[in-house]
């Protein structure tokens, strides 16, 4: 592989990382918001959210990406590839994250929040200061798992023309006729990215030990 191949690989890795990172950031927060809304059990809204979650969880990423990219013009939207890709990944991961957050809410001890309310905390302060920090720690294994699924599933967005870390190996081997070196490097890069997540998770586990009362 020559310098330009390396350059292309790194650019592909960068594309994968930034598109995944944006999708993860939106997806984690949106999942939390959906879980919060579902706590209120608003009729119709709740059913719609359940429908969204089941559809998003049942749809392959490639299909979702294609659908969003191809249907956007019909809806009068002018989506560029990156936005369509992020939208597909986000819609997918949000649904899974919403379920992770929801189970964290369900398992949160009522005594803990009662103790907070008893000191005069409003429900919002109770959520922000008492519930959320603990929910983050207990949900992190599930969330990180979902993040690594997203990164490993992200090559699906190549279907709408985004040149990510996997797609770029194709382009390189189309020129060099040597498919193995770029794909090996890409594999190593994926492992490095996921490795960062695993490290984050280990950090969380150490803090989680404190929560075991």
């Amino acid at each position: 592989m020559n310098a330009s191949a390396w350059h292309m690989l790194l650019e592909g890795a960068l594309t994968t990382v930034w598109i995944s990172a944006v999708s993860i950031a939106i997806g984690v927060v949106a999942g939390l918001v959906i879980a919060l809304i579902r706590l209120a059990r608003i009729p119709i809204v709740d059913q719609l959210l359940v429908l969204y979650i089941s559809v998003a969880r049942a749809t392959p990423l490639v299909t979702l990406a294609l659908f969003i990219f191809l249907s956007a013009p019909d809806l009068g939207l002018d989506l560029n590839r990156s936005v369509a890709g992020i939208l597909a990944l986000t819609l997918n991961t949000t649904a899974f994250n919403a379920e992770i957050w929801r189970s964290a809410f369900r398992n949160f001890s009522r005594e803990q929040s009662e103790a907070a309310m008893a000191t005069g905390m409003t429900p919002w302060i109770t959520f922000r200061r008492i519930m959320l920090p603990q929910m983050v720690i207990t949900s992190l294994p599930g969330l990180v798992n979902e993040m690594s699924f997203l990164i490993k599933g992200s090559p699906a967005i190549a279907v709408i023309g985004i040149v990510d870390l996997t797609r770029v190996t194709n382009r390189i081997s189309a020129v060099t006729y040597e498919p193995l070196p770029p794909i090996l490097v890409a594999g190593a890069l994926y492992m490095a990215i996921i490795g960062c997540l695993v490290w984050l998770q280990r950090l969380a586990e150490r803090r989680a030990n404190r929560l075991a009362m």
Partner: protein
Amino acid sequence: MSEANMSERAAVSIRHLSKSFDDVEVLRDVELEVKTGEVVTIIGSSGSGKSTLLRCINWLEKPDRGSIHIAGQRIGVHEDGRPMPVRELAKVRAQTGMVFQGFNLWPHLNVLHNVTEAPIHVQGKSKREAEELATALLEKVGMSHKHDSYPNTLSGGQKQRVAIARALAMQPEVMLFDEPTSALDPELVGEVLAVIKDLSAEGYTMVMVTHEMAFARAVSDQVVFLEKGLIIERADPETFFTTPKTDRVRKFLENHDTPSPA
């Protein structure tokens, strides 16, 4: 004296309080007045409604009927019957401090931060001010040496003492104790009772649900006996423990090793 006037003077004033869970009436027309500086103990067998009564005082349980005033302020609903918005409810709640049977410390915060959390985020105290107060309170309950420990490393008695400091940190009008020693190993009960006894000596207003009869006799100004949601007897501790008026209380005390006078 008018009713409103009396409510203003009392730390806690409970009128015509009733509460049902499904079909079971757990509180029936309960009336209770706790004066500032007074220690009131609520006694009764399990299922008599005593914990529910205590939890109604800070609106962790919503009563069906009746009114509760904390230092003259109505809690939970406005005088005209409108439900109280959450922020307002939280403000009145901050006038009460509660100590739970199961401690309910926040496991993600160390001992010091368990105590400073509400003063900082509810009262808006500065971090320094809150930490000075917390240090003094932890000193008072004998836990200052553990200020940077996490709750899961503490014994039950230590946890409960931290929980008492946490409740005191909001400088409440009244402290509510919900069976504070029931979840403790017998040898740890004493250290928690000693702290509560100190508080009573310092003039804190307290309402306490307990099964510790000797302790109730020693610290209470008023003992209330609850049976199936009704207050069937109330008296000063001497009268209550030596010459109860009802057979029910006599029987209850026989089963509970009536303490000899302290």
